[in-house]
Symmetry: C2
Subunit: 189 residues, 2 copies
Amino acid sequence: MAWPSGADGTKMWCCERLESAVAPPSDETINKVLWRIPNVLCLVGSRAGEEWNGMTTSWVTQVSMEPVLVAIAIDRSALTHRLISQGGAFSINLWDRADTRPFVKFSKPATKEGMTLNGRPIREGSTGVPIFEEAIAFIECTVWDQRDVGTHTVFYGELVDCGFQGEGEQAEVARMEDTRMKYGGVKRH
Amino acid sequence: MAWPSGADGTKMWCCERLESAVAPPSDETINKVLWRIPNVLCLVGSRAGEEWNGMTTSWVTQVSMEPVLVAIAIDRSALTHRLISQGGAFSINLWDRADTRPFVKFSKPATKEGMTLNGRPIREGSTGVPIFEEAIAFIECTVWDQRDVGTHTVFYGELVDCGFQGEGEQAEVARMEDTRMKYGGVKRH
């Protein structure tokens, strides 16, 4: 791991101090610690024209109360990254933790047949993005701003619609820890 | 809730469509849905010169694997906001979910006596920020970049040190759901 230098490439104030202090942690330690940050496991819906997708996503958090902004970090090589950039909107679909089967399948670009993605029924949200009918709750956002950060882009989504679906208000939301999946830590080379 | 207009104030592509579509959800619905996004509950350590603080924080997620970046969203009126802006670094202290007592107390500026904050022992990390000795794991970051977003600022932290402490590798990390606290949703006026 190289010492930090800031987004603009300049050395940070504390680097001299750092270089004389500790050795950087091992990749294994970084992975083990970062995997312990509790994260959701959800499906992000995106669309640009006739291209629709749903993707398993875990880096999600609210970041502002006024306007109401929810940030998601999406791999810059992912289809979803292009669809959100072109379409200007996305949906966050919270899932029942009792049914984590979709998450592995939605780690690759999804297959659309009629109004389904990978066989899961969808409807069109008010911005046109897919919303999963089986989600226990959905959050639909327009892109308020976006920021490239290393391997990913943070999309700041402004909430335009949300709600529970079916018996969703009584269900528990799926998290990363409900599966054997791991996401995050250092990039594998 | 006003219809979204983007960070630069321009109307989004989809607004005409939106305005003819659904009514915005109620504040109550927004709160109920957003409170369901699973989040950590941790203490963020910050410091500028002789001012030290620890603050209960829940809007935390990794956002990049190379460089390794962890984002935290901090209220712009919080002492921690000023200390991170001035000091250029912060620590994320993951806590044992079996001991959620510190979180209410650390919702206000902390009292420092010797090397303690609110009576909890701290040490100086490699960047100078406080790290809580009782944390089950810590992540120490320098500020790679920061972005004002509505009520909060997102600090992009580049990992410079991290590790488990004590028996931390066997412990479970505290989450918002382990307490009666709620954070997020719409701003209360």
